[in-house]
Assembly symmetry: C2
Homo-oligomer: 355 residues x 2
C-alpha cells in the first residue's frame, strides 16, 4: 500500500465564523493528491497545502470531461470527535463511476485512509455549530494532453475539504420544485448512475430556467417517455402515498444515493412499508387529487432531507401537506442528522470515527 507523504502549509488561513459558512466556497489548508500513470498505476499519494492545479490546456478533462467525483461529510460529535457517515459507500460508488468513465480503479481503503488523514490534519476546520459540517469532495481528473477521443493515460485523484453551513438556516423548510418536461438529465445507457461532470453540466440550463420562476430545483422525469419520476436536482426523491413510501427503483439512469439507501433502511427499521418501484408523475398527481399524497421529500448529502412543499407540473401546482414539513421527513431528518453527529444511537453502525 502506498504511503501518504505529508507537507504541511507554512501559513494557515483564517477560519470563517459559523454564520459566514455557505456551501462550497471556502476550502481548508490542505488537500490530498495522488497521480496515475499508465504502466505505473496510482502513485505519489501526498497531502500538500491547498493549491492550484497546473494542467496542460490540452488535458483531456477540459475537452472530453473524463472525470468523476464524490460528495460526503464529516461531523463533529458533542464530545469533540469527528465522524464520517458510511464513507465506504462513497468509495464504492467512486469506483463504480470510474468504471463507467474508463478511469482506473482506486484502492478504496487507501482513499479512505487518505481522507481520514487529511481531515485529521485539518480537524480545526470541522465546524461545530448546529447544522454545519465539513464537506468532503474527492474527484478524479484526466490529465493527459491529447485531443483524440480516448481514455486518458494519466489521472489525478484529489480530495478537497470545505466547511459548510446549515442547508436551512431556520431548520428544514419545504421547497418548491418544478417538474421538468423539456430537458433530460440522463437516460438508460448513458451516464446517469455515475457521478460524473457531464450529468451536472447538462442540468444547468433546466435549473436556470426554473430558478427564474422561484423553484429551488427541477424534478427529472425519465428520458424516454417523460412519464416516470427519476430524481430531484442532486437528491433522490420519496413520496408517501396512502401510507406507503415509494421511491423510484434504481434503473441505470438514477444516482444510487447513500442517503437514499439510509432512508430506506431506517424506514424499514421503523416498520414503514417502503417500495422501490417505477412511479409516474401521473400517479403522484392522481394521489394529490384524491387526497392520498401525504408527503414528498428529497434525500442527499447536502440537505440530508428536503421536504417538497409544492410541485409544478403541466401548469398545475400540486401543494403537498399544506406546504409544511411532514412527519416522516421531520423524523428522518432528526434521526439521520442525529446519527451523523453522534447525538442519536447508530443502530446500523453507519458512522466511522476519525483517529
Amino acid at each position: 500500500m502506498n504511503e501518504i507523504k505529508v507537507t504541511l502549509a507554512d501559513q494557515l488561513k483564517q477560519k470563517p465564523l459559523a454564520e459566514q459558512l455557505e456551501f462550497g466556497r471556502i476550502f481548508t489548508d490542505h488537500m490530498f493528491i495522488m497521480d496515475y500513470t499508465a504502466g505505473k498505476g496510482w502513485h505519489d499519494a501526498r497531502i500538500i497545502p491547498y493549491q492550484p492545479l497546473v494542467l496542460d490546456p490540452a488535458a483531456i478533462v477540459f475537452h472530453y470531461g473524463q472525470t468523476v467525483f464524490e460528495g460526503m461529510k464529516a461531523y463533529e460529535t458533542p464530545e469533540g470527535k469527528v465522524r464520517l457517515f458510511r464513507p465506504e459507500k462513497n468509495m464504492q460508488r467512486l469506483n463504480k463511476s470510474n468504471d463507467r468513465l474508463c478511469i482506473p480503479q482506486i484502492d478504496e481503503k487507501l482513499a479512505l485512509s487518505a481522507i481520514k488523514k487529511l481531515i485529521s490534519i485539518d480537524k480545526e476546520w470541522v465546524p461545530s455549530a448546529e447544522g454545519t459540517s465539513l464537506y468532503i469532495r474527492p474527484f478524479v481528473i484526466s490529465t493527459e494532453p491529447y485531443l483524440g477521443v480516448a481514455p486518458s493515460k494519466n489521472y489525478q485523484f484529489i480530495v478537497i475539504l470545505a466547511p459548510v453551513g446549515a442547508y436551512y438556516k431556520e431548520g428544514i423548510n419545504p421547497v418548491k420544485i418544478a417538474v421538468e418536461n423539456q430537458f433530460v438529465r440522463a437516460v438508460a445507457g448513458g451516464t446517469g448512475e455515475a457521478k460524473t461532470a457531464g450529468n451536472y453540466a447538462s442540468s444547468l440550463k433546466a435549473q436556470e430556467l426554473v430558478a427564474d420562476k422561484g423553484y429551488a430545483q427541477v424534478l427529472w422525469l425519465d428520458g424516454l417517455e417523460k412519464k416516470y419520476i427519476e430524481e430531484v436536482g442532486s437528491m433522490n426523491v420519496f413520496f408517501k402515498i396512502d401510507g406507503e413510501i415509494i421511491t423510484p427503483a434504481l434503473n441505470g439512469s438514477i444516482l444510487e444515493g447513500v442517503t437514499r439507501n439510509s432512508v430506506i433502511s431506517l424506514l424499514k427499521h421503523w416498520g414503514y412499508p417502503v417500495n422501490e418501484r417505477k412511479i409516474t408523475m401521473d400517479e403522484v398527481y392522481q394521489a394529490h387529487k384524491n387526497g392520498t399524497l401525504e408527503e414528498a421529500f428529497g434525500s442527499g448529502t447536502a440537505a440530508v432531507i428536503s421536504p417538497i412543499g409544492e410541485l409544478a407540473w403541466r401548469g398545475e401546482n400540486i401543494v403537498i401537506n399544506e406546504s409544511k414539513t411532514g412527519f416522516v421527513s421531520k423524523q428522518l431528518y432528526g434521526i439521520l442528522t442525529g446519527i451523523q453527529t453522534g447525538k442519536e444511537e447508530d443502530p446500523f453502525n453507519w458512522t466511522v470515527e476519525i483517529e
Copy 2:
C-alpha cells in the same frame, strides 16, 4: 472591441517532421486566452506562449463539466498561403453550445480574428505535406471555485493549435463500425447537439469495448428506441441507397457538423438526390439484403470523409461496397480536401485566407 495583446515566446519549440505528425499530441508555440468575469464580461484578450493553466481545484469545470469546444482546421495552399474552412460556422456553433451550457456568448468576430492572429503568429507550424493540416481547438472552461451546482461566474476562452498528420496514411480507407445497442450517447432534451465534454466522456466506454473487437468507432442509435441512426463516433453519417443519399435529420441529439452541411451542399450542387430524414438501422439492413445499399460514409473535420466498409449489427456483418471506397465518398473527399487546401475551385466561397 477588445484589443488582442501579444506576448511572444522567448524560445520556440522544435517543429515535428511531417511523418511524425499524429492527431492532437503536439502543440504550437502560442495560445490565445480571454477571461470572463461576471459583471465585467469578456476581457483581457491575449496571445501568450503555450503554457499550463493554473486553476483552483474547486473550479467548476473539474466537477460539473461546464465547458464547450470547437474543432476546425487551417490548411496550406500550393501558393504557401493559409486558409480556414467555413470558420464562421464553428463560431456560430460555439455560441449555440455556450447557450445550452449557460456559458456567456462570445463575440464571434473577435474570436475569429483571435484565431487568425494566433495562426499568423504560429504560421510556420502549418504543415504542408499531403493530408496534413493545423488543427484548431477553441474551448471554454468554467473557472469559478465553487462546489454548488450552478453556472460559473468566471470563464476562460482558450485557443490551442496542433499540427496534425494525414488521417489515413495511404489515402482514404474504409473502416469497420459497430452499431451500439447498449450505450447511448445523447437523447433529445440532453446535450447531444452541443459540443460539450460530457457527450464525449459518455462515449468512451462504448468505444473501448468495440475497439477491443477491431472496430474503429461505434454507430450511435437514438436513445429512445435504439432504432434510428444518429451519428458515428465524432462524425455525421450518410448512406447511399438505390441512388438516394440519406443522412439523419437534425433532431436535437445529433451534432450539426460543418462537414455534414458542406457534403449536403456539394451533393445537391452535383445533382444528387439528398434527403435529411429519419433512417432506421433496419432500413439499412434491408437495403443491404436486397442489394440497394451502395455506399456509407462518415463526415467530420478530422477525417473529412471516412468510408464505411462494414457495419456490425445484431451479430450480422453488413459489408458495404465490397469494403471498398465508393465513388461518392472518393469524389467528396477529393473535392472537399481540394477546396480546403486551395487546389480546387471554391464555388461556395467557403474558404477564408489568413492575412
